[in-house]
Symmetry: C2
Subunit: 378 residues, 2 copies
């Protein structure tokens, strides 16, 4: 019995994160300057001779550079997108060299609120400067420079990751062959912003009073709010129904529905590992994302400059970034005369669908990227 | 200029709340006994000679007995459902005697968490016993006894109020002529429960640490969460869009979207007047409501006993209690052979539609209740 050793037949296997330090620093969109910064990343699959087969993975709200494989033999869970990245998988590491990083402002090893502010000697904490999607794309390009990757065959992301892929196509038209936008939106709706603000206020309750003894930390509550919006009403009904975990309504106070204990668990687990200031920073980046704003809110005009080809995927039950939001992007791309493939996938899993192995979804992604690989070989 | 004097031509005018004390007490569904209790209520319109024209209004989550008219000449805002209750309005006080109360466990004058626990001499606070929809209906019937109203011509409610009207039809089949259920559901979904639990946790963060200096109280945050779920994505987009209230994204931290400042205002105003323990109690009553549970989850069998006729109204954009949830009630009523009128109203205002003067909605309600009045006269 070797149950603790993961089955790595279709896995990228054991991977080791790399850390790069950029002494040149970066000027952020907000005007503040980071005198230097570090980015942590992983790569999977071989870079080909002409360095043309790289795919950049952009992570979403609570993302991590560890997207595939295992850090060591005893790791019980692989990277967050391991079902999609690996030999023979949709993002096929036998064809592509995949780069996955933790974004600037993150809390998993890249420079962020937990890092030391060189001008004070203290951690940045909530004083870490505002970071936008444009800043992420800019620093991802600096990372690509360091890796000697002039152009990505594709930039791929779900949710907030898709926004980065879109921004890549706008800001670096010559450095991206294909943009793959999954469960994405061209900007947040007022409702999206409202849920983010509620999450930030939950976190702020903590920072005012210090950690609440016994109570779920504000970050845990913030995560619970997010989690409910990632799932669909149907999928929650299927998963939890109204099954009562403990207690008896007739007896009064101690009734806990399954869905409550699940969310408690998710919230407190998340709060143990994630940084509240990063959560605030990332939700703000989401709120601010609006590439059409500089073009009088005309997304079609915004997209005229792009040279990338697009794959846009949405999910029927996603009410956070509904298929209609993806259609806004598709319609603007079509109007701007850009090659675009789009697919609305029938799924009951809500926004979280983009992380799931849904046959039609994975098939579309796999076939599309296979044609990208063929382009490279041609 | 007499701008401060309200226009009361189609109003019930100046009304005065009444308080009734019930020394006989009540045994609650959870098994606990309140040795005595008080209910505060208002009435509008004349009770007829045979005492048959009374309509009971059941309030929703944050409801109040003050549903129509003004408490004094200088009151700037009338009762919460004044657009619907008054002479010539859908709930026509020239035809009906309307009774509107603050439910047991409330915080506007009826016995609740702010009341003194006679066994300790201290306010109940969070020790107030669990109250269910069945308990509310039971104590409303005790109030009706005191008012010498043997049977309500109709029991009317939106949202949680509709659940009370449904429970009335089940528990007191001979004491209710018509049940009017607006934006209602036969029980909460897992998603509904999840949002309620998040609201309760926000309140709990407060009670652990005491009131947070400067931060929005947990009750305010809870209200914000509720508020977002009462509106539709579309209506929030129309109302707020992405209009930025203050600050500049390029400048960093101080950007506030309109929707944020609106929700802050709503949340902090609510937190100043409402009681957090009542909020927890009422959301728990919502979670527990499930009249079909005693009948093996068979709503049709549950409804076989009812004698009331039903009007069931839902709203197209309501994602808290969607039209499909009302259809569950309608389908069960039809299957049980009960006279049922149903209307799905096209509206962009989400769950909050039930409080709005939407022409088809108010017309359906008015015509239906006019026929109820004709029945009484026949």
């Amino acid at each position: 019995m070797k149950a603790s050793v993961p089955d790595t037949r279709d896995s990228v296997g054991i991977v080791e994160p790399q850390l790069l330090r950029f002494e040149q620093g970066v000027t952020l969109q907000c005007g503040e300057v980071l005198p230097n910064f570090e980015l942590i990343y992983e790569t999977y699959g071989q870079l080909n001779a002409d360095r043309s087969n790289a795919i950049l993975i952009c992570h979403a709200l609570s993302g991590h550079h560890h997207a595939a494989g295992y850090h060591h033999e005893n790791e019980t869970r692989p990277g967050w997108w391991d079902n999609c990245i690996g030999p023979g998988k949709p993002i096929d590491t036998s064809k592509f060299h995949v780069v996955s990083l933790n974004n600037l402002g993150g809390c998993h090893g890249s420079t962020g609120p937990r890092s030391t502010n060189p001008s004070t000697g203290e951690p940045y904490g909530e004083t870490f400067p505002t970071v936008t999607v444009r800043d992420w794309v800019n620093t991802q390009a600096i990372l690509a420079d360091a890796l000697n990757i002039e152009k990505f065959a594709a930039v791929v992301g779900g949710s907030l990751g898709g926004m980065q892929a879109l921004q890549w196509a706008i800001d670096f038209p010559d450095r991206i062959g294909h943009a793959v936008l999954i469960a994405c939106a061209p900007k947040l709706s007022a409702q999206n912003i409202a849920f983010n603000e509620i999450a930030r206020l939950a976190i702020k309750m903590d920072s005012v009073d210090g950690s609440s003894d016994g109570a779920l930390p504000g970050l845990g509550l913030a995560r619970m709010i997010g989690h409910v919006t990632y799932l669909s009403d149907d999928s929650m009904g299927t998963k939890f129904g109204r099954e009562v975990k403990s207690g008896d309504i007739e007896q009064g106070k101690d009734v806990q529905f399954q869905v409550e204990s699940y969310l408690h668990y998710q919230g407190s687990r998340f709060a143990q590992t994630f940084d509240p200031n990063t959560y605030v920073l990332v939700t703000r980046a989401l709120d601010y994302f609006d590439p059409a704003m500089e073009h009088n809110d005309n997304l079609e005009n915004t997209l005229r400059r792009v040279k990338a080809k697009f794959l846009v995927i949405s999910f029927s039950s996603d009410w956070r970034f509904s298929p209609e939001r993806s259609d806004e992007i598709v319609d603007a791309l079509v109007a701007a005369g850009k090659p675009t493939v789009s697919a609305n996938i029938t799924s009951s899993f809500g926004h979280d669908s983009f992380l799931m192995d849904i046959p039609r979804y994975f098939n579309v992604l796999k076939k599309y990227l296979a044609s990208v690989a063929e382009e490279l070989d041609a």
